[in-house]
């Protein structure tokens, strides 16, 4: 019998070691696995490399992980938000490294990592500062950049519903990086609002097949980042 359920966020992230590479899903607050991130802060791992589209809002979730100085490097497309100074402050002080990646290239590098494709060519960023140091090649008269896959030790993802086999469905635009990060991480951890019995998710509607998922944890009423930020919340 396959049962990927774990008891709670703390148990789900307990074995993430110092120096791990962790993919964290979400685009803005949509799909940000706040409870898993807070459990990771409690757990104490440091020197992490975080791969995520943004760098969080306010002083909760991803921004709180950065503020706690647990992250040595972020790989990211848009590390600015209107309502967070955590990343800019750390970056200006030289306390965090940034690898800036065009958003589509970030997504495809992650997808490639999960699909066993070590490198690929893309037209994005040709002729820009982000092309520096990257090999390029011309195909059919057009120039492309060589980009490497991204893989991770762990992925922290938020879904809406999962079963014990690890099949996952998402909520609206909270899907974003979840499915590809699940593929690209050695251990994919998914928090969901509800866990159901195998068979209760129609196989035709499964978005992330369970083979890509290692742990599912139920967080029945996840916090919303925007509400926490509006309330001036800070974690821990």
């Amino acid at each position: 019998m396959i049962d990927k359920r774990v008891q709670g966020p703390a148990q789900a992230v307990a074995d993430i070691p110092d120096g791990a590479t962790v993919m964290i899903g979400g685009f803005g607050e949509a799909g940000s696995p706040i409870e898993l991130i807070h459990a990771l802060i409690d757990q104490g791992a440091r020197g992490l490399t975080v791969i995520s589209n943004n760098t969080g809002s306010g002083e909760v979730g991803l921004a709180a992980l950065l503020r706690a100085e647990r992250v040595a490097k972020v790989v990211c497309s848009f590390p600015r938000t209107a309502n967070s100074t955590v990343f800019p402050d750390l970056y200006r002080k030289g306390r965090i490294e940034l690898e800036l990646v065009p958003q589509g290239t970030l997504a495809e590098r992650i997808r490639a990592g999960g699909a066993g494709i070590p490198a690929f060519y893309t037209p994005a960023a040709v002729g820009t500062p982000l092309a520096e140091g990257k090999p390029s090649q011309t195909f059919d008269g057009k120039e492309y950049l060589l980009e490497r896959w991204l893989r991770a030790d762990f992925a922290l993802i938020k879904g809406r519903c999962a079963d014990a086999h690890g099949n996952v469905v998402y909520n609206k635009t909270a899907r974003n990086f979840g499915p590809i990060m699940a593929m690209a991480a050695n251990v994919a951890i998914v928090q969901v609002n509800s866990i159901v019995q195998p068979g209760q998710i129609d196989p035709e509607t499964v978005v992330t097949p369970g083979i890509f998922v290692d742990r599912v944890v139920e967080v029945a009423q996840p916090l919303h980042e925007s509400e926490l930020v509006a309330a001036g919340a800070s974690y821990p």
């Binding site: 495809e108 992650i110 500062p129 909520n171 609206k172």
Partner: protein
């Protein structure tokens, strides 16, 4: 009102309305954050456009009624939106396959500078201490079939934004097809900037003086 009488050329809304006239019915369109978003308000009656937002929604609708939104249904500007009947959600790699794979018909972006060869700079001033952030702009300009810019003709300091060569870091090389400003509609052609239309009451010379590279007229 004094601000109205001081306006030379089109207002922002009028710029958006003028741009919207040029989008064919049935187009798949990605609108950038800011002025480009205004375009959706001015689509001529009888035309239906399908809006793509790169965070995973095709068929984006307007903002929700107050209190009716879902914090997990947002656009690329991270504001709450709605999904129209017939909308679809998808993950980020599929979303950028739509972009990079040439499936999106049109993208509308803001600009810091546009060069007469179609180079675009719109993501960084390159100043030390600035936090670099690029988002999806480089993928959009590299993959979408047509890329329009909507922008003020000059910076707040009066410097031309349409230039011979961009001095800010590029977003993409030779990627812009057409520019809409408060003064004019200008095409990027193999010959450089070419006037398509002047806004009412604005002379060719007035636009030309405020353009940082030769402006051709047909």
């Amino acid at each position: 009102m004094t601000t109205e009488t001081a306006q030379i050329g089109w207002t922002r809304d009028q710029m958006a309305r003028r741009l919207a006239l040029d989008i064919p019915n049935g187009s798949y369109v990605n609108l950038g954050i800011g002025i480009p978003e205004l375009v959706a308000r001015f689509v001529p009656e009888g035309r239906t456009l399908i809006y793509h937002t790169e965070n995973g929604l095709l068929g984006m609708g307007p903002s929700p009624a107050p209190g009716a939104g879902d914090p997990e249904l947002i656009n690329a500007g991270k504001r709450q939106v709605t999904a129209i009947p017939g909308a679809a959600y998808f993950h980020h790699a599929d979303s950028f396959a739509m972009i990079r794979g040439g499936h999106i018909d049109l993208c509308v972006l803001g600009a810091m500078q546009v060069a007469c060869n179609g180079d675009l700079a719109n993501w960084s001033t390159g100043e030390p201490g600035a936090i670099p952030a690029v988002g999806g702009a480089m993928d959009l300009v590299a993959g979408v079939k047509s890329v329009f810019v909507i922008t003020q003709h000059c910076t707040k300091e009066g410097e031309p934004k349409l230039v011979e060569r961009c001095t800010y870091p590029l977003t993409g090389r030779a990627v812009i097809n057409r520019v809409y400003t408060e003064l004019a509609v200008i095409d990027i052609t193999p010959r450089g900037f070419e006037l398509v239309e002047l806004s009412p009451g604005v002379s060719f010379e007035y636009v030309s003086e405020r353009t940082g590279a030769p402006l051709l007229r047909l």
